[in-house]
């Protein structure tokens, strides 16, 4: 059985450091929460490591709703990482 992957979006300086706006990650038990996914992504490469170095400056949304590190993830979810918002 092939599960739908997670769709990952990056914004602002996270996008710039990762080097892309979007990617997909296969769903797996170790990425079944926002914190788990973040740890997984941080180990994915140099840009990712730089993007996720200052965890305190990283915010997330799951399926376009603000999320916390504990928020559970499910196959097919859209997960976005971004800095604290600075709009207006």
């Amino acid at each position: 059985m092939s599960e739908q992957p997670l769709r990952i979006l990056y914004f602002a300086w996270l996008r710039e450091r990762v080097g892309r706006a979007e990617e997909t990650i296969a769903f797996a038990p170790e990425v079944a929460s926002v914190a788990g996914l973040l740890a997984h992504l941080r180990a994915r490469g140099e840009g990712h490591a730089r993007a996720f170095a200052a965890t305190a400056q990283v915010r997330a949304a799951v399926n376009q709703v603000f999320a916390s590190p504990e928020t559970a993830l499910h196959p097919g979810d859209e997960v976005a990482f971004f800095p604290p918002v600075t709009g207006g």
Binding site: W13, Q64, G88
Partner: protein, 153 residues
């Protein structure tokens, strides 16, 4: 209240046209609260030549519609418009418009203040400032903005 009007787009907005949308042909509006945010040429003592606003398409519009609904629940609004520009903007340009109409002035003004505080602090926008020397930095979230929005919680 009528469906709030939410626009997140690069294009400049027409304040008079937007006010007319909320008021034309009706006689129950007593007050229109309005706030327009504009790009300043200076940020924390440095001259800026431009600003880039990034947003999260889909989530941003949903978040704006959500806060408009919350404002309508708090105040007896007759109408509400939130327009936020994105992309590259120059000093002097208008960047955000809030309109709130009500039968009475206090509701219109209070809702306007509530909405702009939230737009400045809670909406999924990220701001990059471009300086005259070619340098560009992402603006960090400001404590005072968060404190401002906390007044409403």
């Amino acid at each position: 209240m009528a469906e709030p009007r939410i626009v997140v787009a690069p294009a400049a907005f027409d304040v008079a046209g937007e006010i007319a949308r909320l008021t034309e042909g009706r006689q129950d509006v007593g007050g229109i609260g309005c706030f327009i945010g504009t790009v300043r040429a200076e940020s924390q003592g440095r001259a800026i030549v431009a600003m880039t606003l990034e947003h999260y398409p889909g989530m941003t519009e949903a978040a704006l519609a959500g806060i408009a609904a919350e404002a309508s629940a708090r105040w007896p609004l007759l109408g509400c418009t939130l327009i936020h520009r994105v992309g590259r903007l120059l000093p002097g340009e208008a960047i955000v418009l809030v309109l709130a109409t009500s039968a009475h002035r206090q509701a219109a003004l209070d809702a306007t203040g509530f909405l702009i505080d939230w737009l400045k602090t809670g909406a999924p926008f990220w701001k990059k400032e471009h300086f005259a020397d070619g340098d560009a930095i992402w603006v960090e979230a400001r404590e005072t903005d968060a404190a401002q929005a906390a007044r409403w919680r």
